[in-house]
Amino acid sequence: MDRALALHLGVIAALGLAYFVLPAYHAGNLARIMVLAIYAMGFNLAFGYTGLLSLGHALFFGAGMYGLALSMQHFGAPTLPALLIALVASALVAAVVGALALRTKGVAFMIVTLMFAQAGYLTALYFSAWTRGEEGFVLPQALRRFAGFDLSSAAGRYFAALLLFALTLLLIGAIVRAPFGRALIAIRENEPRATMLGYDVQRLKWFAIIVSGTISGLAGATYALLFGYAGASFAAVPYSILPLLYVLLGGAGTTLGPLVGTAFMIYLFDLSSSLTDAYMLIAGVVLVLLTMFLPQGMLGTLRKRALPWLP
């Protein structure tokens, strides 16, 4: 077993152990961090590995969230089918948006994805008869079960989050070492050269967006499932910006950067808000300082300075 895989398994084991060691509050936070880290990992596949900076991933997160929540709320779907619907919904949305948006590059790509996401957000508001728009709705607690486990209990939530986080991490770990992932990195590093080497760059990017969008959708569905709420605010612009921050802070193009960045941001807000009301100010200053002094994010800088093998 190589070091990267060992590290991933070690992190997963440590997270499993953490539930029994940490006080209830921090274990609860960690469950949420793992769910949002799934989102950040999905985003990282497009941004960190393929070099596609999307500002519209909230659309995929929202597609997953509503895919699961609406099928539970209106059709009484049990967890597993609802989760599958969520994955299919987000994959389809990502396939369509990807096919269109990938005709553009750079800043135009950012704006096109942003606008698709904005259209999705407005759609969720408009069909309030189904979605309850900006208010959102509570998922039926009785349906939030899986294989006999109550996903609304502390342990059920934590280990469901851990399971999905672990699967995503191992999947990403496998992808970036597979020819597919190496091709994506080649595209990020030098797109014309990747084209010359015979890669079907457009097709690979499209696949990357689909996988990235589906993972983001998984995160959205998981959030609704574990925290019992779905609402349009999760499909709004700030939720497109969040994974970008998580990934850039943790380290773009590192497998564990999304987890580190997510945990850092959540605790930055949580701790500074207990010190002062001006926690947004603190968060802003920290963001500025980090970009100035840790340009490659935490793990990116660590990899560059000390641990070149870091996945």
Partner: protein, 308 residues
């Protein structure tokens, strides 16, 4: 209301939106054109302009026109100065790296928003317009075999809104003269075309960048001062102008100044006109998708050069 007057009203209202949008988007476009960075805090400079206008107007407390004129001078200066300082303190140090600039400007967005919340407070505050009278507008009608004027119900605009359109046009003409007829403008355009070459010719690129960043913010602040008697100052008001400015800048062709103006007019006016024909929210959704499609099939924008 009859169709004709309704359309006319929508076009006039759209023109006001377009005028403000053109100024705000022009700020973003100048910055992108010269520095090639995306400033996510642009909407916050706009918001600061509105908030400073409120402070100036209420502090002076004299005739609304005096406060307004003072705000129109002070707000862009202060906001532009702040932006230039932020550029030198932060953006220059990270070398205008595109991705890091986005995160740094998101950080600036948080700082400015929270700072305003703590000083200005969370309430929406209006500023009195320097003048404001309702002007009923006539419409032509073909009646009894001849053309005649009449004043349809509801068809009107205010003198202040007409002033906003004129003022925005004047500011944009002044900007164009500045960019094409002055030495400073020449230096900016030289830097835009090739910053390395400009540096080699002894142009202080760092100072030019700070100036450009300040100018971009000042344009946003001017747009905000003009709009604040129509709307009002609020600490979260920067969000929508940011998105719209982005769209305008891209549709117009990145860094193309005439393109930005054309796109602002197109988007502002069509926003007004669409509401005449369609159910508004569906129209917004469709229009958003339509603009995205324009970009998908013409990613260089309307007047942008083909990507190379």
């Amino acid at each position: 209301m009859d169709f004709g007057p309704h359309l006319m009203l929508a076009i006039l209202e759209g023109a006001v939106t377009a005028a403000i949008l053109a100024l705000t988007a022009m700020g973003l476009s100048v910055v992108f054109g010269v520095m090639r960075v995306v400033n996510v805090a642009h909407g916050e400079f706009y918001m600061l302009g509105a908030v400073i206008a409120w402070f100036v107007a209420t502090t002076l407390g004299a005739h609304p026109a005096l406060g307004f004129v003072a705000a129109l001078i002070l707000a862009p200066l202060l906001v532009g100065g702040l932006a230039a300082v932020a550029d030198m303190l932060i953006l220059q140090r990270i070398g205008y790296d595109p991705e890091r600039t986005i995160v740094a400007t998101i950080g600036m967005l948080y700082i400015i928003q929270q700072g305003t919340l703590m000083t200005f407070g969370p309430d929406a505050r209006p500023v009195a317009p320097p003048f404001n009278s309702r002007i009923p507008l006539p419409w032509l009608e073909w009646a009894e075999g001849k053309l005649s004027f009449y004043y349809p119900w509801g068809l009107s605009i205010t003198s202040y809104k007409l002033f906003v359109i004129a003022a925005a046009a004047l500011i944009l003409i002044a900007l164009w003269l500045f960019m094409t007829r002055t030495r400073a403008g020449l230096v900016m355009r030289a830097t835009q075309q090739d910053s390395a070459m400009a540096q080699a010719f002894g142009i202080p690129v760092g100072r030019v960048y700070a100036l450009v960043f300040g100018l971009g913010a000042a344009l946003a602040a001017m747009g905000a001062v003009l709009v604040v008697p129509i709307q009002q100052a609020h600490y979260l008001m920067g969000h929508d102008p940011l998105l719209l400015s982005f769209i305008v800048v891209i549709i117009g062709g990145l860094g193309s100044l005439p393109g930005t103006v054309i796109a602002a007019v197109l988007i502002g006016v069509s926003d007004g006109v669409i509401s005449v024909f369609f159910s508004p929210t569906l129209a917004k959704i469709t229009a958003t998708l339509a603009v995205a499609m324009v970009l998908v099939f013409r990613p260089q924008g309307l007047l942008g050069k083909k990507a190379h």
